[in-house]
């Protein structure tokens, strides 16, 4: 137990945790949106994120991005990366919905069957990017698929440097970008769901699908919309991840997805603001826990937190309705 370390650098650990939790929160939105409307855990959402990181990787390597480009170029690469990742992730999420979930929904299959299908899909994607694509495209895109199942590095777009310090807390440029970008994306999504016509449709279907259909809401379109929105958020998370950590792997989705889901449950699944709160909370708890014990216990801490929260507050911190989210 390293209480002195934790107390002495409390601010630093909080900042680290917030920037980590921001990425969890972005991925958690995908789980929350789909769960809020369909009452379905889209287990394959972690792979939507993984596809996003690979699309960023392919884009950057194909553009021939070198480490530490000048600022103007760096911004261009980031914006391009955001567009490509959002398209790739959103497209993957949409494809999952059309190919796998829709036939099951038609048959009114029990939730267990959805979940198992999603697990199967997740395996397929992990293997596709770990085995099949490296064999097929290894010659064409050696930087992305050169070594099957291995960690692939990406060029550094922004050199990490300390922007300013408050007390003994140093805040780096990357941490600030990740946090601000994630919160901005979430604010836009929140505005979209709560203020626009489409968002009203989403909330209506989440509250009562049958009544919504009677009121002229096209359910199928709403369902497609939420999958695409979740995918775009995962794409944004993928870009931020690529910028911050600079690597990807076919299997990064698993643990990250599990944690993002934990974050969604923590905040109250189906509740958008809950996802933000849950993600940031989980990030902070993880960093504090890793400091107190040791960093290899980080994952255990996340899961124990999940179990404890579910025991005492099964509907999460903010409660779990997408339709009636007030917070």
């Amino acid at each position: 137990m390293h209480f002195d370390e934790l107390i002495g650098h409390l601010g630093q650990h909080t900042v680290d945790g917030l920037s980590k939790g921001a990425i969890y929160a972005l991925i958690a939105l995908g789980y929350t949106l789909v769960y809020g409307v369909l009452r379905l855990i889209n287990f394959a959402h972690s792979e939507v994120f993984m596809v996003g990181t690979f699309s960023v990787l392919i884009l950057w390597t194909q553009l021939g991005v070198k480490n530490n480009p000048p600022v103007g170029q760096a911004i261009l690469f980031l914006v391009l990366g955001l567009i490509v990742a959002a398209v790739a992730s959103g497209g993957t999420a949409l494809a999952l919905e059309r190919i796998a979930y829709r036939p099951l929904r038609r048959k009114n299959a029990p939730p267990l069957i959805f979940l198992i299908t999603a697990i199967g899909l997740s395996l397929v994607f992990v293997e596709l990017f770990g085995q099949v694509l490296p064999k097929l495209l290894g010659g064409v895109l050696p930087e992305a698929f050169g070594r099957p199942r291995q960690i692939v590095g990406m060029p550094t777009i922004i050199q990490q440097e300390t922007l300013f310090t408050i007390g003994n807390t140093a805040i780096t440029n990357i941490q600030l970008i990740v946090f601000v970008a994630a919160v901005a994306m979430m604010a836009v999504l929140d505005w979209f769901i709560n203020r626009t016509r489409y968002g009203r449709g989403v909330r209506a279907v989440a509250q009562n699908p049958e009544t919504a259909a009677l009121m002229g809401v096209n359910q199928e379109r709403v369902i497609m919309l939420i999958f695409v929105l979740g995918g775009i958020m995962a794409g944004a998370a993928a870009l931020l991840w690529s910028m911050r950590f600079g690597f990807t792997q076919n299997s990064i989705g698993f643990v990250l997805g599990l944690k993002a889901f934990t974050a969604a449950v923590l905040g109250g699944i189906g509740n958008l603001r809950g996802a933000l709160l849950g993600g940031l909370f989980l990030g902070i708890v993880e960093v504090y826990g890793a400091t107190l014990f040791a960093s290899n216990w980080e994952d255990v801490i996340a899961f124990v937190v999940l179990i404890v929260v579910l025991m005492f507050r099964p509907t999460g911190l903010l409660g779990e309705s997408l339709g009636r989210a007030r917070a």
Partner: protein, 385 residues
Amino acid sequence: MIDKIRTADRRRVGMLTSVGDRWRALTKWQQALGLAAFVAILYYLPLLGIPGLTWLRTDSIEGGNNWAGVLFVCAIYVLVAIGLNVVVGLAGLLDLGYIGFFAIGAYSVALFGSVNSPVVKWIQQEFNLPPTWAVTWAICLFIAIVLTMISGVLLGWPTLRLRGDYLAIVTLGFGEIIRIVARNATGLTNGPVGISAIPGPEGAPSPDNKVFGLIDAKPWYWLAITFVLIMVFLVRRLEHSRVGRAWLAVREDEDAAAVMGVYPFKFKLWAFAIGAALGGLSGFLFGSRNAFIDPTQFNANLSILFVAMVVVGGSGNMIGVSLGAVLLAYLPERFRDFADYRWLVFGLAMVLVMILRPQGLVPSRRRARELKDRAAEAEEAPAHV
């Protein structure tokens, strides 16, 4: 085209169920004779030598054939499938952390039975025992079952009150916790180094062991299949008892069951504990056959493989899940040249089975009827999501 596949599939399901009907129409002694012949074949299997079927390329024996070894793996997977079937198929609880129980079973024989384990060393020091002392195999079996049952209850107690899909994720987390603890708690489990010299029925592995050696897997298979047969018998009795009916009632409608005086939580906890004990037994056999375990042998992918066995085979039906287990254990060994793609194939198989035949390859009749009802409801009310 998909409709064509579905009609053909419905016919095949009909054929399968009619086989079951014909079996039930036989007289008692005919059934007994049939069962005896089947059991005899099971015990004879490792001596079989059909080229193409039993000639397997495995990495455990140099360039050679390890048919009996593969049969052993099939047998312990069948044990896992039977145990998981109690949880998933009968009680309807999706447990994605079953590998955790398997690992606890394997680690209990390792921790208490091996002279190299920190636990045994600590006991030796505390009680001034000789350095060759360790808990005997038979007592380890007992410890393994008790420990896994306790861990099943400990996991189930806080989590079984949750909704089904939350449970899936929490159990997935549990499997990971067990693996990470096994890796990190070096003082207890030797961490990534693993534990060697895990005993078998004849004690610690040594060249003097006459029956249960490291090379010949046949005795191990016979041991495992004996456990399988005993467990199949016991679980079958349980399935047709009051407890089994309570599980089905809880699976189909928890609230209705509660109204009828079946306390869901209690029976769910029972299903969890019994399922866990079977997983622990399987892990126990795995550990003592391997004589060496380390945390990397228990990763989350195996949990998903276990669920795939149950679901692809036909959840709720013991014959189905056993078939699923044998298929998923045998095929990767048979087609080792394509082993790189096996997870891809598992994933595709899971998706295809779920879309085309959600009740599994050899469906349980009750489950098939349930799914049909739901599909009919969906056709009546197409607006329902």
